[in-house]
């Protein structure tokens, strides 16, 4: 009798019975999350591939359109997103150590940084509407010689429109992922405040963290591809 109760006590209450131990349970959850992220890589991969093909086919038009983007806002947003990834990493750390208040603090900081990113993105989108750079009937792009490309024909409006279509598709899908992430983190913040996450059980924090870092990586590639690489050629 004494033996069996001791065996039960070594069992963490967070351990599901089909797992051998907590480590296996954690690894399985993380593996599942990575499988999901690999489908996300495929999803964004298609958009990146379309961008590369059209940039190759309409090189000077894409350069001219890219040069209208605000490199300063893009850089600030990259910094904001990196800081938010850092607060997520620190939130995971706090959850693993079982520090409730720092955990809630880091999660709230992540939410604020995520909203700042979306706010700055909104400012950029508003600017596109103002300049008629949103693809559609009202689209208009001045046919100007491409900076640093005097030898090339001036950019064509219809090809610049392709750039902005891809710009909105890629940054829009990224922003949608950010909005979903903010929703996830709001729920996590609530449960963290309630004290649900312990050093034994913090899988939701860890996995939502993986998601957030993945969305950060997408932006890490979007920023140079859309804003930077066409400044000079």
């Amino acid at each position: 009798m004494h033996d069996s109760s001791a065996a039960v006590e070594t069992h963490s209450p967070a351990l599901r019975h089909h797992f051998a131990d907590m480590e296996q349970q954690r690894d399985a959850a993380s593996l599942g999350m990575w499988l999901f992220l690999s489908t996300e890589i495929m999803f964004f991969g298609g958009l990146f591939c379309a961008y590369l093909i059209y940039r190759y086919l309409h090189f000077n038009d894409f350069a001219a359109a890219s040069q209208t983007l605000d490199i300063r806002l893009g850089a600030i947003n990259t910094g904001v997103l990196i800081l938010s990834s850092l607060t997520v990493a620190l939130a995971v750390h706090a959850a693993q150590k079982g520090q409730r208040k720092p955990l809630v603090g880091y999660l709230l900081a992540t939410l604020v940084l995520g909203l700042v990113f979306l706010g700055i993105k909104g400012v950029e989108y508003a600017d596109k509407f103002e300049h008629h750079h949103v693809p559609g009937p009202s689209f208009h792009f001045e046919s100007v010689p491409v900076k640093g490309h005097a030898e090339m024909p001036p950019a064509e409006s219809s090809h610049a429109e392709l750039f902005f279509s891809l710009y909105f598709a890629m940054t829009g899908m990224h922003a949608l992922h950010m909005i979903i992430g903010i929703g996830l983190f709001s729920v996590l913040t609530f449960f963290a405040w309630k004290g649900r996450y312990t050093p034994e059980y913090n899988t939701p924090i860890e996995n939502a963290g993986l998601y957030w870092h993945f969305v950060d990586i997408i932006w890490i590639y979007l920023f140079p591809l859309l804003y930077l690489i066409s400044r000079h050629h």
Binding site: L52, I82, A89, K97, H213, F223, I229, H232
Partner: protein, 95 residues
């Protein structure tokens, strides 16, 4: 075998490195390097992505080999998609 907990100091160091790399890539974008602008920008982006994956996403510390298999497979398929598509479009004008 318990879970590896990355120290707060290392997280802050990685975050700072990522910010420095961002400033570097923005600075280099204003210098004319010809085709190397693209190569440098994407190399820095890849370095940043690797730092995020290895440290923030704990892949450096995972003992689960299947996780690595999934990541390598996903990146491999992505490169296949990009390489074969560009091999097609890049050679269409050859005669």
């Amino acid at each position: 075998m318990s879970e590896h907990i990355v120290s707060r100091k290392l997280y802050v160091a990685i975050g700072t490195t990522l910010l420095v790399l961002t400033a570097t890539t923005v600075g280099i974008a204003f210098i004319n390097l010809g085709p190397f602008n693209t190569i440098v920008a994407l190399s820095i982006a890849t370095a940043k992505a690797l730092l995020v994956i290895l440290f923030f996403m704990h892949v450096k510390y995972t003992s689960e080999k299947m996780t690595r298999v999934v990541i390598v497979a996903a990146v491999f398929w992505l490169l296949l998609l990009l390489a074969l598509s560009m091999a097609d479009y890049g050679t269409r004008l050859w005669h």
